[in-house]
Amino acid sequence: MPWPELPDEFGSRYRSVWVDLPSSLFDPVRGNALYHEYMDQLEYADQLGFDGIGVNEHHQNGYGLMPSPNLIAATLARRTSRAAICVIGNSIALYNPPIRVAEEFAMLDVISGGRLVAGFPVGTPMDTNFCYGQIPALTRDKYAEAHDLIMQAWAADEPFAFDGKYTQLRWVNCWPKPIQKPHPPIYIPGGGSIETFDFCLDHDYNYSYLSFYGYLAAKGLMDGYWERVAARGKDASPHRAAFAQIIAVAETDAEAERLYSEHILYFYNRCLHVFPGFLDPPGYRTLKTLSATSAARLRRQYLGERAALTWGDLVESGTVIAGGPDTVRQRMEELITSLRVGHVFCLLHTGNQSDEKTRYNTRLFAEKVMPGLRGMWREWGDDERWWIHPLEQRVRPAVEREPALR
């Protein structure tokens, strides 16, 4: 849910789109229209037959208007009837006490009739440390404890005491409980650390790589994941993994460039304009990960150098998948096969794309691309370990059941 009104000179006038961007750039009246537009688009995707519709959590961020994804998910739970409600997710180290997440996710699962996919991200340093003040070196430890509390709360049949380092509760008694048993499918967004691979495999959670840099760049990381899956002796079900991809479909490749280029460039050149000092607070990443990372972006001259990306760069590098339906389908097949993923988060609204273009993109994808992808991974077709198990008979809002009451 990006803010579409960042000024042209945003990148040169402000150091960051995240954490310390001026809040005067937000206009609540424009926001009123925008929230409804974005929620309408998600509901539209449900009508078009997407398996799920997704929301996520970001704070103080010019490309995300969702500090509280659960609020949006709650409206979607009422206004849709079929698609999974994917909250990817709640940054569980930020909730005090984290039992709040167990409760709210349970509410969403119950209201939606068992359609919740529950995501538990550690959270970016911008959100977790700089906006929400968690101590970088203790963030992962706090995350792990919050996870344990939530899972124990969902599993327990009796009240229990939880004596954690960060949270102490004498009476843990999650009320309500989720419909899905033992719990809703759990997705863990990760960035390639072996610790996160293992965490997912220990608990049989889905590993979701939420990259904005496309499937070609993701290959190395996902190969590492699958090597770890094999080394741990787990089956290679593609549903263990998910990937996020920016997609732009039109009637032809040329039309895709004409329609979407400015919006995608808006996203990469303005929405991702993050001050590098916010990317790696000391203590957030392990020293091993840092040692393997280039420090080039931490030079002073880099700040002046953040070169504007072009459409050609983005399409050739597979950062975005864009073009006519055949081009997009072929590239999606490549993505799904090469990364071995059973779930793709299709990012069909990008940057300051208009409502009209977003609906066009979403509809073309649903009608001309999606059907060709449905048959992939047929041999794993009945593997539902990482998908929702809703009630057969789900209650709908009264206005839909009995229109006469209106």
Partner: protein
Amino acid sequence: MIERTVETLRGARVRVFEAGRVEAPPLVFMHGLSGLLEDTRFMELLGQEFHVLAPELPGYGQSTGEQLLEDMLDFTLHGMDVLVALDLTDTKPALVGHSVGGMIAAEMACLAPQSIGKLVLIDAFGLWLPEQPIPDVFAFMPYEFGEYLFHDQKRAAELLPGGTELADSDGLRDFVVDNARRLGTAGKVLFPIPNRRLSKRLYRLTVQTLIVWGAQDRLIPAAYVAEWAKLLPHARVACIENAGHMLPYEQPDALAREVGAFLS
């Protein structure tokens, strides 16, 4: 300088640098945010009068066990544990704490005033003034460390390799990795606001105290000197010109004179 490693009862391994004669009065120097830099002149000067012991905090240099330290009490008790490991508990050593080391030293003095002699706080963390927010060191680009910590940028370039604008990529990455270990540790008492409510414990700080500041400290500005002085009315206060936050490295002679005069 002599160096050795001691192990605390809790299990941290601490490298300790030493200067001066063993029979001279003991003085413990607790380093700041950036650790012990290569220039040891300040410690050598103090070593002419005192037996100087400079322990490295876990997470810094060759000291390990930072995972044992999680909150302010852990850091304070670690400081006391080091005094035990150095067999200084009966000698009432002077504590000279710089920057985050000053914050820990002040906490130690509040916790166990009977175990230490005099206290010197150099450009110390520990207080927070809403109208004078301390810059967010955790969001610094590497080159900003030099700019904020030093008054003299030439000294910054000499003493903070990587913490200035370096051409050398490996040097920069090494700085980033070491800095992540150092500030990752210090962040447990400094992030996101370097205030662990020391001020409400300062009523216990009854030992003789010197507050000394680099007059051009850009990190913890002069307004904090006034606040320390207000909270510790019995303390002596001094400012030294031509020095920033890294006062012990920028004006070691003037600082050693000031500290020596106060302790003697």
